[in-house]
Each structure stands twice: as C-alpha cells, then as structure tokens.
C-alpha cells in the first residue's frame, strides 16, 4: 500500500506546534495568508489579467486619439497647461481606471467563495474575522496596483515621459486608490449572496465613480451640481494625485493640472491622498462589520 505512514508507528497524537507567538503575529499571519491566496490566483488567471487591460486601452485609443485629434493638440485643459494634449491629460485617468475596475471586481472572489463553499473554510478557521476583510482589501489593492503598473508601459506611446521618481510616487498612490475601492467592493460583497447580484451593484457603482472622477475631463469648469458630485466621488481624490505624479514629474507646470479645487483653492496631492485614505479606512471598518456577523 502506498499509504505507509511516514509518521512513527505508535498511534499517538502528533503534537503540532502552533504559532506560539502572541495574538498579533497570528493576526498578521491570517492577513498574509488571505492576501497571498488572492495574489496566487491573480497571477494564475492570465485571461482576466489581459481582459481587464482591454477596457482601459480601448478608452485610451478611442477617446484619447479621437478627442485629441478633434480638439487639436493645444486644447486649453487648464490654465498654464499649454502643450498638453488630451491623450496625455487622460492617460493618468485611464491608469486609474485600470486600478478602479480591477480593485472593485477583486472583491467578487468573496461572493465566488461563498457560492462555491470555500468561504466556510475561511470562516471556521481560528482567525479573527477582521483579518479576512483586511487580507482581502490588501489583496485587491495589490492586484489593482499591479494592473496600474502594467498600464504604465503605455506611457511612452501616448507621449507621457515618466521619471523613475514618478513611478515610485505612482505605486503607493495606485495601491491606496485600489485599497479604498477594494474595501468598497468588500462591503458590497459581504452582503451579497450571488455573483450576479454583486455584478449588478458594482456595475451600478463603478461607472459613475469613474466618469465623475476627473479621469476623462478636467473638473475645473463644470456646472455647480456636477462639481458637487465630482467632489463627493472618492475616486476623484485618487485620480488627482495620480495625474500630478504622472504629469508633474518632468514638467512641474503640469503638476496642478486637474487638481481638485475648493472655492478656487487647489487641493495639494498629499491632502487628496489623505482624504482617500480616510475613505478607505472607513470602508474597511464597514467591511469588518460585514464579516463579523455570526449566524
């Protein structure tokens, strides 16, 4: 028989040492393992990886090229932003789009796990429920950031020159944007029982969040009601610093293009990022509550 015991013969309970370090390391370990599984699955799912690049690229090509040609290279997108073509302007927004879509849909794995039973394996494990939400949020954040990173390959094609420093700045910003949107996805996912339901709700959220974020057009000269909507869209607080980092790296004059303004005051990129972080942490708290419910 192949099943010869590798364990010594006497049938005695093997003492399996468990992480005997404190509660804190156990928590981090649980967060890590939830995160790690998401990353393995992301890496393995080449189709999804490519498919989720298709949409941002489509936007970049159709809107970018189309509008750039019809508006002409010198469209006045913002004061002092001459020599910035539309496609250059929208490029950071499309990077944000890749991050946004990947992050929000990454939470679908929770609904998927529920439907296929795997969530039970996680829920009965001796780990804190909040570790599940945190691990998922970091997993989605990682996926979103990687997807954004892939999009950076297209920068030279659209004429955006990225300095190494810009890339270093962009990475945490993409991670932060993805983190916030994943937590929003997790909040939805923790309440949804079916994949179809999740998709309906996310699709309902994702397009307005994207369109009002300033990814495709400057937010400076909008009618009042729309201006208000854009400023309550958390994604806007992620797109503005992304654009500042991507465009402002080599051309400082472009650093404030598309910054969010409040009564004429351009919000500095770090402040926007902090607002985004605040939204993310709040959403995470809601997501944790969604998981804490015990039948």
């Amino acid at each position: 028989m192949t099943a010869e015991p590798t364990l010594g013969a006497p049938p005695r309970r093997p003492a399996v040492a468990r992480g005997r370090a404190g509660r804190g390391t156990g928590y981090l370990r649980a967060v890590f393992v939830i995160w790690y599984r998401d990353v393995i699955r992301y890496r393995r799912d080449r189709m999804r990886l490519l498919a989720s690049l298709a949409q941002p690229l489509l936007f970049l090509l159709v809107f970018g090229v189309g509008l750039s040609s019809s508006l002409g290279g010198g469209a006045r997108l913002a004061a002092g932003a001459a020599h910035l073509s539309y496609i250059q302007f929208m490029y950071p927004g499309v990077v944000g789009m890749a991050v946004l879509f990947t992050a929000m849909f990454s939470a679908m794995s929770i609904v998927w796990d529920r439907e296929f039973g795997f969530l039970k394996e996680v829920l009965v494990a001796p780990i804190e429920r909040s570790a599940i939400a945190v691990g998922k949020a970091l997993g989605g954040a990682t996926q979103g950031m990687l997807q954004g990173l892939i999009m950076l390959v297209f920068a030279p094609v659209v004429g955006v020159r990225l300095s190494p420093l810009s890339v270093v700045e962009l990475l945490p910003l993409m991670f932060l944007l993805a983190f916030t949107l994943t937590t929003l996805g997790v909040v939805v996912a923790s309440r949804m029982r079916t994949i179809q339901g999740f998709q309906v709700v996310i699709n309902f959220l994702v397009l307005p969040l994207f369109f009002l974020s300033g990814a495709l057009f400057p937010l400076g000269r909008l009618p009042g009601w729309m201006g208000v909507l854009t400023r309550v869209d958390p994604v806007a607080y992620g797109i503005a610093p992304l654009r500042a980092a991507a465009l402002g790296g080599l051309v400082p004059a472009h650093a404030h293009v598309g910054a969010l303004t409040f009564f004429g005051w351009p919000m500095p990129a770090p402040v926007s990022a902090l607002v985004l972080l605040g939204v993310g942490v709040t959403m995470l708290a809601l997501a944790v509550r969604g998981f804490a419910i015990r039948d």
């Binding site: 099943a3 309970r13 399996v16 039973g117």
Partner: protein, 364 residues
Amino acid sequence: MGTPPPSRPPTGAARTHLSSAPAGTHASRGGAAGPRAHGDPAVVVRGLHKRYDTVEAVRGIDLQVHSGEIFGFLGPNGAGKSTTIQILCTLVRPTAGTARVAGLDVSRDPAGVRRRIGLVFQDPSLDEQLTARENLDFHAMLYGVARGQRRQRREQALALVDLSDRQDAMVRTFSGGMKRRLEIARGMLHAPEVLFLDEPTQGLDPQTRASIWAYLGELRAREGTTVFMTTHYLDEAEICDRLAIIDHGTIVAEGSPDQLKARVGGDVVTAATADDEVAAAELRDRLGVAVDRGDGHLQVTVADGAAFVPQLVGAVSVAVRSVAVRRPSLDDVFLQLTGRAIREEPPDPRAAWRARRGMGGGRR
C-alpha cells in the same frame, strides 16, 4: 463526466485494509479508552436546544463521545443532525444547554474549540483554482501549523488519502471522491482532537464511500483522532464504534451498532403470503406475536428466528410464498424506535455532479 476510478482497491479490499489496521484499532474499537491518556471525553453535550423562529431543530440533546472513537449521528434528513454538528463546531449558537468539545465550552471559547477541531462540510469547500498542495498549505497557515511542520503534515495527510501523486494538480481536475478525500486530509492537517464530518459520503459512489471509511479508520488508528460524523446511511453507521440515533431533534437511542441491534431482541422474520392481511391476523391470534406490515411482506421479531419458521408456516392458512430470517439491521432499530423506516435515498449521481460543480439546487 470522466470520474477516474478511486486509486484504492474496491470495497472488499478496503474492508480488509480496515480490519488489517494496527492493533490499536481493535483496542479502541472495543470501546476501550482512546489514546487520549487522561481519558476526558472528546465531546460532552448537556440539554442542548436550538430554536429557529418557529422551528425547534434540536430539543434537548445529551450525549458523550469518548476520545478516539468513531461516533455516528444517525437520523433521517431534517432530524437535527446538521444543526447539532454546527453548534459543536461553533458555527451556530445554541438556544439553551451546553456543549464542550475537546474540553472547551463552545459558547465561551469558540476560538479555542476551532483550533482543536477539524471540519469536513457536507458541501464541497475547496478552492478549485488552487492545487491540492496549495489548499493544504493555506489551511495549515490559517490554523497556525508551525512552518517547520507544514511539509511533514501535508505529506502525511496526502499519503493517508492516497493523493500524494496528485498534489500539484488543480483541484478542479479532481473527481468528487478525490475532492472529498482531499477535504478529509485538510480536516486532519492541523492534528485536530476531534474531526467532524457532516455526511461524509453523501452523493459518492459505493467504492469511493468504502475507501473513505477505510481512511477514517486509518486516521483514528494512526493519530487517535476522535471522529464525529453525521449520516443517514445505514451502512455508514455500521462502521461507527458508537451511534446516537436522532429523530425530531431528540436522541432516541445510543450504543454500539451491535448493542442497538440487540435491543430489537432476536431475529427478524419476514414472510410474503398470498394474503398478508389474513396472515397477519392469524399470526397475532394464534402465536401472539406483534406483526409489522412491511412493503409487500410481513415482519415479525422473535428470539429464535429459525425455530419460528415452521410455527409461522403452520399457523397461517393462506399460501406462504417466501420466508426469510435475518439478524436485525439498524433500520429495524430505527423502525422499532420511531415506527418509521429511515428513508434511504440512493445517491443520485446528478445531484452529486451538481454539488461538485457548485450548482446545487438550492441556489439560483
């Protein structure tokens, strides 16, 4: 559906394997104290109740499971088996009563209980996008198995269920039986004191079921794990050291399969006659025995079945077509205790297929 044959030999050989297991198996099979030296019971339940809105699923259960035994919870669907096991696994809170698992109270220390138990669910709960090895490693990390022991535990667990050579294959390529075996391997990976299995062979083919029973026997023999399983299959109940029979949320009998059958008191004699109505009346009047009407036959329980056959033939005026004498089965026990047979649904291959695909009927 290409269901690869189980890598184990079929029923007969698996049975042999079980009975040729190390001596420890037989020692604990006889009901002797399991390997847990201090002899504490693995599960103690007192006055357990669970009420859902209007339905009382569990109505005052008391039971005790000894360390190292294979304990079966037998009852028809909807009898309260799954609710009880979910309470013991801290997934559902009891309405009243107490339950201690591995020495810890399920209500006061659910996290502690979770660390000490393994759980194999009724429905599949593997990540099909990962390999068998990744599923096990994920579980080991979740349960905090020390890094240095993960590999050894994983290899032992995979060897026990004969999946060592498939550990790098994606779980989605596994047959239903292989998935179930992998779940058992996963359930024991962190060396739980008690392994709970909810309907472990539901929907599996007979060969695979027999091999799973063999694995459970080996698991107990090698690691001294207490096994607590629910079932509504009588043949599955037969492999248990001890059983509790549950019906309508209460335990109606408890004991080893042999003890329970002995309660029926003797042999079961079944007879088919030209007119069962008349024959039953005559048997009652002339021989003074209780007669149950079965499906197209009569059934009498007597101390000595062989000696009763000529009496039966003599007492009945209508033609007797056939008479059979057999030892009582657990179904007879259940029939006697509740007045009903456990309805045994034969495993439906389509349902099993759907369950494996995750398209169970209960979902939209």
